[in-house]
């Protein structure tokens, strides 16, 4: 492979990045406290930690989104102070976020050169040069994507590659990847790792943010573990074990996280028969009273659609959903609720919370009739009930009247749990879609405890998640979905990480446009 180092990138003596004693304080929270990280050229340096451990804050400081409150930062030996993302880009640092910064309507080439289009002598945009240059950049990565295609038509994995090509077009010497595999199939992950290997070989430094241990073992040279805003350790990946990494990351044993008690499983409660529509294909399963059924799948496998289809919030074209003998009408969430179903949606800000409304009003939203006489709300009863749940769930809020948008993610999620717990007189089945996404590890443990307690009272639970550890930790039985179908059903005893991965994996080829890694040069 011809080694074509990025122009100006001679063999550097100093590390590409040196962060010393970085401190960042948000109101009431020390997000980062005295953190040191250094990254050398040609290295993949993983940042590992639970949600809320400080990884995101660190990369936002690196990207110029946040300003640090203390510490020093050097890029290639020069002390820097980023006031904006432009400053960071100017130092040839590129952050590839989970939510990609691409313009869907523009072509691949236009996205790659966004903000710095090549010009013809007359000052017009040189589209031909742009397309050729893009094709070269992508070919360097071993990829063949048509530069003229609108980015919106690409798969997420391909869009990610466009972001990386964009970084190369700006001669990035440091690329930060924020949980890049969260939406990728195993084959696509392989392609990504091939690209990372190529970037490494030409001296680009990679900061790889993840909480997936297997990936870190495969791809990273060194790992820095974060917990509660502090750096726990920086170690060579070869010298650690996954067990050790978990201990560093969680700071406690994993079984403390899942307070799973012996289930008290009753008779059949929910019967789903050949449900289809909205991408679902012939989904049949049953849930018993008091049982926690986990549904695992990769992003896009349809697990969250299934939750909404059961509830009548996503269109269905066939099949039936019967809860405790009563058929649930399609497209009619109100009917599902009346018959004893509850749904905690996967995206709490987009379709769960009413952000401007108070904590109290958000809690009682689905149970308001309980507190109303002929539509007149009895404020006292409503306040008492809300206060009771604030206490019981340990929700941190200055007041019941606080708009819910000002609460932290974990507390917001508890507010949504309370919304359905307030209906417990009639609640028979609760569907939880990714209830722990983006919340801190302490709140996670409390959510698991609440779910376990609800199951013990005979409520059937359908627990959808893209995270294997929590599915294994909490479910009595696990369904695995792929492309809208159920591909496996495993009892708690027989479920392992490997079996879930195998059943969830798509069998498609690596990126259709991608060349084999070796064929590129």
């Amino acid at each position: 492979m011809p080694d074509s180092p990025i122009p100006g990138e001679a063999t550097v003596a100093a590390p590409v990045l040196e962060m010393r004693g970085i401190r960042k304080v948000f109101p009431g929270v020390v997000a980062l406290d005295d953190v040191d990280v250094d990254v050398v050229a040609g290295e993949v340096h993983a940042l590992l930690g639970e949600n809320g451990a400080g990884k995101s804050t660190l990369i936002k400081i690196l990207a110029g989104v946040h300003r640090r409150d203390g510490g020093t930062m050097r890029v290639a030996g020069e002390e820097v102070d980023f006031a904006s993302p432009a400053d960071s880009l100017g130092r040839r640092i590129k952050v590839v976020y989970q939510e990609l910064d691409l313009v869907d309507g523009l072509s691949v080439a236009e996205n790659v050169f966004l903000g710095g289009y090549p010009k013809t002598p007359r000052g017009l945009v040189d589209f031909a040069a742009m397309r050729n240059r893009t094709r070269e950049l992508l070919a360097d990565l071993g990829l063949e994507i048509d530069p003229a295609l609108p980015v919106g038509e690409l798969r997420v994995a391909e869009q990610q590659m466009v972001e990386i090509a964009r970084a190369l077009s700006r001669q990035a010497r440091l690329i930060v990847m924020d949980e890049p595999t969260s939406a990728l199939s195993p084959a696509e992950v392989d392609t990504l790792f091939g690209v990372i290997a190529r970037l490494k070989s030409r001296g680009v430094a990679i900061v790889y943010v993840s909480h997936k241990l297997d990936e870190i073992e495969r791809i990273a040279d060194r790992v820095t573990v974060f917990r509660d805003g502090r750096r726990v350790v920086t170690a060579g990946v070869a010298e650690t074990t996954p067990r050790q990494l978990v201990a560093w990351m969680v700071g406690r044993e994993l079984h403390d996280l899942f307070p799973k008690s012996a289930p008290a499983i009753g008779g059949p409660l929910l019967v789903v028969d050949r449900l289809s529509g909205s991408g679902l294909r012939d989904v049949s399963f049953a849930v018993n009273a008091g049982e926690i059924v986990g549904v695992y799948g990769l992003m896009g496998a349809g697990i969250n659609t299934l939750g909404r289809a059961l509830f009548g919030a996503a269109a269905r074209d066939g099949g039936s959903v019967v809860l405790a003998g009563a058929a649930i009408r399609p497209n009619h969430p109100r009917d599902a609720i009346a018959k004893g179903m509850g749904l905690l949606t996967e995206n709490r800000k987009q379709d769960g919370l009413v952000l401007p409304l108070a904590v109290r009003a958000n809690m009682t939203l689905a149970a308001l009739a309980r507190f109303a006489d002929l539509s007149w709300i009895k404020g006292g009863a409503e306040t008492r009930a809300a206060a009771e749940y604030v206490d019981r769930l340990g929700i941190k809020t200055p007041s019941l009247r606080q708009p819910v948008r000002y609460l932290s993610g974990g507390n917001q999620q508890k507010v949504l749990m309370a919304r359905w717990m307030l209906r417990q007189d009639s609640l028979k089945l609760l569907i939880l879609a990714e209830p722990t996404r983006g919340i801190d590890v302490g709140s996670k443990a409390e959510i698991y405890r609440l779910i376990d307690a609800m199951a013990h009272r005979g409520i059937g639970i359908v627990f959808m998640s893209t995270e294997i550890p929590e599915i294994l930790g909490i479910a009595d039985r696990i369904l695995v979905m792929r492309e809208g179908r159920i591909t496996a059903e495993l009892g708690r005893a027989e479920a392992t990480q490997e079996r879930l991965v195998a059943a969830a994996a798509t069998d498609d080829e690596p990126l259709p446009a991608a060349l084999p890694i070796d064929a590129a040069s």
Partner: protein, 346 residues
């Protein structure tokens, strides 16, 4: 992790630093109503100094009479805006109901039939708006804009652009507009009663709470079992009804159905006043009483300028500037609130 007691005030001690002054915000920053009341008093004080004739108490009672149609129409528009929908058709409805009312007087020689006919046009047109928006899924801004043009055009064609005069000269009708109880003008009393009812409705009933939920997050409202379409439809009917009441009141000023009543941007002034009162244009946030204060502030500006002898064209300039100032101050206040919340968040 222990829960903080639910009713501790927002000024809970925080771990982070920060000055004490900023944390103890002015009441005017904390409460929109107080800020707006201050603005209203400021405007009133200005005119009291500038125009001697504005100093009598009668001016303010007159203001209540003059502003009554705006206040009443603004009730319906506010509730719709809280649910995240627009109603731009209220200005044309003002003219339409007025013309229907007086034409029915003349056709039937009955005042009561005329008033009933006028009032009934409101829910009818509101129902058409509501049907198009909720059942047909049309955008409310465009739907009611279409209704604005269609109704205005209908009134022009029907009246040939001449005022429809009450041939019977019903003095009870015009007397009502002039009437007062304990010096308070009757139109003002109607407005105040409707505002009180609407306020109780918005803050104390299940339906009212659902309005905020729908405007704040339609999907969340739906998956919480709220009948989003039905509630939205009913709000359009309510808004139409309020506009019709306002329209009949306007007609009773002189016993005439004016084809161009409300033609000078009545619906826009109503919406601007409401937003001035802190109601969010995207729905879910705001307070009916503040919106009403917004209406009164712009009403006071208009009245004061009239007393100063300013020409309508000059009034337009000043009204616009006051509006810009109010929106600017609203932004400043929002930023201060966000700042203080960030400081207090633990």
């Amino acid at each position: 992790m222990a829960a903080i007691h639910p009713d501790r005030s927002a000024a809970a001690p925080s771990a982070g630093g920060g000055g004490g002054i900023r944390r103890r915000l002015l009441p005017a920053v904390r409460h929109e109503e107080i800020a707006l009341l201050g603005l209203f008093l400021l405007v009133a004080a200005f005119f009291a100094v500038a125009v001697p004739s504005a100093r009598s108490g009668g001016t303010y009672l007159d203001l209540l009479r003059d502003a009554a149609p705006n206040l009443i129409a603004a009730i319906g528009v506010t509730l719709l805006l809280l649910a995240g929908e627009f109603d731009l058709s209220v200005g044309s409805m003002l003219a339409f109901t007025g013309v229907v009312t007086v034409s029915t007087f003349n056709a039937t020689d009955s005042m009561w039939l005329g008033i009933v006919a006028g009032l009934l046009t409101g829910p009818l047109i509101g129902a058409i708006n509501g049907y198009l928006v909720t059942v047909q899924g049309m955008n409310s801004l465009m739907t009611t804009l279409g209704m604005l043009f269609a109704l205005r055009g209908l009134v022009y064609v029907w009246t040939n652009q001449t005022p429809v005069v009450d041939e019977n000269g019903f003095s009870v009708f015009t007397g009502f507009y002039r009437g007062e109880i304990a010096r308070i003008p009757l139109p003002g009393i109607i407005a105040l009663v409707l505002i009180a009812l609407a306020w109780l409705f918005a803050t104390r009933t299940e339906f009212g709470r659902n309005i905020y939920a729908i405007g704040g997050n339609r999907t969340a409202a739906r998956v919480s079992g709220i009948r989003v379409q039905r509630n939205t439809f009913l709000l359009f009917v309510l808004s139409g009804t309020m506009a019709a009441i306002a329209g009949v009141l306007v007609a009773s000023q002189t016993g005439t159905g004016y084809f161009d009543a409300g033609v000078q941007g009545f619906e826009l002034i109503v919406i601007a006043s409401i937003v001035l009162g802190g109601v969010s244009l995207s729905g879910g946030e705001g307070n009916l009483l503040s919106a009403m204060l917004g209406v009164l502030i712009l009403g006071m500006v208009a009245k004061g300028l009239r007393l100063m002898g300013a020409h309508t064209t000059q009034q337009l300039v000043v009204t616009g500037i006051v509006m810009l100032l109010a929106v600017f101050l609203h932004g400043v206040r929002q930023r201060m609130l966000v700042e203080s919340r960030r400081r207090n968040r633990a």
